[in-house]
């Protein structure tokens, strides 16, 4: 991985392609969860990798790369959500994209949770997605989003509560 990064920094396009292939799931996934649209998430992910290519020389290690990708993707998604009235419901096509991937649990519950995620504020979506998609702890999330730790914890607590209520309302 560090090897691919070093080669990509030296201008090796095959190595850069390997970096894109290694991180596309993380970047696209974060975009999809936050924007709720496959097309918007793909556009966002492409922009992130374009920016990465232009900034490769400022990335030192594989760990730094992961951190950078998360930060840039989350910030771009938050900006996109603030700029435009992007959907807060997923289309059938977007859901089909999820159903197509490997799915270990209850698809209806998962669909409901993804829909509830899209009801949250952009910052809260970023916090929840980084917590449950990337398995980051609140301290790491605070660093990625440049947010006070207490704000992250409060977003998590409030979001889980909203989602729990949303599931209960749906069940009744």
């Amino acid at each position: 991985m560090d090897d691919d990064l070093a080669k990509a920094r030296a201008g090796n396009m095959a190595a850069f392609e390997a970096l894109v292939a290694a991180h596309r799931k993380q970047v696209f996934g974060l975009g999809l969860r936050m924007l709720g649209s496959v097309h918007a998430a793909e556009d966002l992910a492409q922009e992130v990798f374009m920016q990465l290519h232009a900034k490769l020389n400022s990335i030192d290690t594989a760990e730094h790369l992961r951190f950078w990708l998360r930060r840039v993707t989350a910030n771009r998604a938050i900006d996109a959500l603030r700029r435009s009235a992007l959907v807060n419901v997923t289309s059938l096509e977007d859901e089909a994209h999820d159903i197509g991937s490997e799915d270990p649990g209850d698809p209806l519950l998962q669909r409901r949770l993804r829909a509830l995620l899209l009801q949250l504020t952009p910052a809260a979506r970023a916090v929840v997605t980084l917590r449950y998609q990337d398995d980051l702890d609140p301290t790491d999330i605070a660093q990625v989003l440049e947010m006070p730790l207490n704000t992250v914890k409060s977003h998590l607590k409030r979001s889980l509560s909203v989602m729990r209520e949303g599931l209960e309302d749906h069940a009744t």
Binding site: V20, F28, E42, H97, D103, L109, Y132
Partner: protein, 100 residues
């Protein structure tokens, strides 16, 4: 309940692959941006080179016109000199013929 919800969220928000051909599309855009950057990088030097060539050609053209002007002036002076000589000669001939 929280654990169940968190487990369900992990499953619901698991990373997903982008649509097929994503990496290829990224690489095509990167290559296109690189070409664009390369063109932009050469745009200023190319503009400067074109301006220098234009200035040189204008300078050469002016020099050429100046040379042609000097040449024309020399030809006129020479023509006047020859005319003057011929007139002197004619005047002298007329004077000799009239015996003065």
């Amino acid at each position: 309940m929280t654990d169940d919800l968190e487990a369900a969220l992990r499953a619901a928000l698991r990373p997903v692959d982008p649509p097929e051909g994503f990496t290829g599309r990224v690489m095509a855009r990167v290559a296109s941006a690189q070409r664009h950057r390369l063109r932009a990088r050469w745009r200023i030097p190319a503009g400067i080179a074109a301006a220098v060539l234009l200035a040189i050609s204008i300078y050469l053209h002016i020099q050429q016109q100046r040379r042609e002007g000097l040449e024309a002036r020399r030809a006129i002076v020479e023509a006047l000199r020859l005319t003057d000589e011929k007139l002197d000669l004619a005047y002298q001939t007329v004077r000799e013929a009239s015996g003065t």
